[in-house]
């Protein structure tokens, strides 16, 4: 089952650090978002493989939006 990486708050996507197929370790940065003029690294909740990236840089996101999925 895919585990989602969700946005913890409203903001904007700055950078995508991983691509589909990449291996990630738990706590490794997947996406960097900007909220309140601050860069917030969003980390992988579990170790696994990136199945899907659902956002692109510059995109506005709401809290709880799914940013990526880890399989």
């Amino acid at each position: 089952m895919a585990i989602p990486v969700t946005a913890p708050m409203v903001g904007k996507i700055l950078k995508i650090e991983k691509k589909v197929g990449d291996q990630v370790e738990e706590d490794e940065v997947v996406v960097v978002m900007e909220a309140m003029k601050m860069e917030i690294p969003i980390v992988a909740p579990v170790s696994g493989t990136i199945k899907e990236i659902k956002v692109s840089p510059g995109q506005a996101v709401q809290a709880e939006d799914i940013l990526a999925e880890i399989g």
Binding site: P8, M9, D27, A35, M36, K37, M38, I40, P41, I42, V43, P45, A63, E64
Partner: protein, 379 residues
């Protein structure tokens, strides 16, 4: 003829012959403030005019603070009358978003805790022999809010205005250095790692419009002599939230705030004449101000720990540190600290709620203090 020429030339060296070591030191201090603003990016909008004002006022014989002098005019019309800080409050209201607080109202308690430093420092200043009104002006540095500090000290202890303002603005910039050690010291490893859930409570436009009006009436009834502060911040906020007076909102946050910031900064710098500023008192004020901010942070974190305990571990006590008015620096500090201990911890929005609470808290604390002093016949 020759003697007239000599006398004229003599006029050119008068500046040098009247130049004392005190003025030289103050020009260096003014230059240091310029360096902090320009080179280090610490509150440049204020430190630059304050620093330059301090340099100008220490030029011998220039008389900028004498009766009729240009800085004296700004100071008398804007600072002594309290008009400048009041105008800045309108701009602050127009720039402040209270949404994080409305989304999470119980967090406002942390904004109240963040004001304890004011009162504890006030007591400390009294113990050190400052008179009551001076102690109030010093304690208010603990509000961590520049305009509030300026407003209160210009009202009660204008002779300390330079020291209080320099302390307030410098320490606000130093929040990322002052707060983390206190936060680390007062929390356990387990508490530092607490992940707080996402707050996603919609706030209606009606609530946002009613909020400034209700706060103004309620807070002003409790602390009527603080109404100029609360009222102006909330007026600015109402203009922001209602969406129908965009021009007034823009003018408040841009033109008015910019002009007043420049004149206010210069006026504060102008209070820093060598004989008034180079005193042991100034150093004590700076030290007490630092203690005030440390105490705010400590009490905020301790209340955070209590809330953590009462909620069965749902609140990360680190967000208590953001219950001060230094917005949004303090909330950012909390986010950075929290993520150091747990990469999956995103405390920013929770800390923003506490921080917005701290902004209101500092103004209300000042308002309460003004009213209490008035009640005691000292206002």
């Amino acid at each position: 003829m020759e003697s007239a020429i000599l006398a004229g030339l003599n006029g050119l060296i008068l500046g040098f012959s009247n130049f004392g070591w005190g003025q030289a030191v103050m020009i260096l201090i003014g230059s240091l403030l310029l360096y902090l603003g320009i080179g280090k990016g610490f509150e440049p909008l204020l430190l630059l005019p304050i620093g330059f004002g301090a340099i100008l006022v220490n030029i011998p014989l220039a008389g900028l603070m004498d009766q009729g002098g240009v800085l004296r005019f700004f100071y008398d019309t804007g600072v002594l009358t309290e008009i400048f800080p009041i105008l800045i409050f309108i701009g602050i209201g127009a720039m402040t978003d209270f949404q994080p607080l409305l989304e999470n109202p119980k967090i406002i308690l942390l904004g109240a805790a963040g004001q304890f430093g004011i009162f504890l420092t006030l007591l400390l200043a009294l113990a050190l022999g400052f008179d009551k009104l001076e102690a109030v002006a010093i304690g208010i540095i603990g509000a961590c809010d520049g305009p509030t500090s300026i407003y209160v000290s210009s009202k009660y202890a204008p002779h300390l205005l330079g020291a209080v303002s320099v302390a307030a603005y410098s320490y606000m910039s130093l929040v990322p250095i002052i707060q983390p050690p206190i936060m680390r010291l007062l929390t356990t490893e387990g508490e530092k790692k607490i992940v707080m859930g996402i707050v996603k409570q919609p706030v209606s436009k009606t609530t946002k419009i009613l909020f400034p009006v209700v706060v103004t009436v309620a807070a002003s009834l409790v602390a009527p002599f603080g109404t100029p502060l609360i009222g102006m911040v909330m007026l600015g906020n109402l203009m922001k939230e209602c969406g129908v007076v965009e021009r007034l909102k823009q003018a408040s946050e841009n033109e008015i705030t910019n002009i007043v910031t420049l004149l206010l900064g210069l006026s504060i710098g102008a209070t820093m004449e060598a004989e008034k500023f180079l005193r042991v008192e100034t150093i004590i004020v700076l030290v007490l101000g630092l203690i005030a901010i440390g105490l705010d942070t400590a009490v905020g974190v301790l209340l955070g720990k209590l809330m953590c305990f009462l909620t069965g571990g749902k609140i990360n006590p680190l967000i208590g540190a953001a219950g001060i008015s230094a917005f949004p620096m303090s909330a950012r500090v909390v986010q950075v600290e929290g993520q150091k201990y747990n990469k999956k911890s995103y405390l920013l929005m929770h800390a923003m709620s506490a921080n917005a609470g701290g902004q209101i808290g500092s103004i209300i604390a000042a308002a309460v203090m003004l009213s209490v002093l008035k009640g005691m016949g000292m206002g």
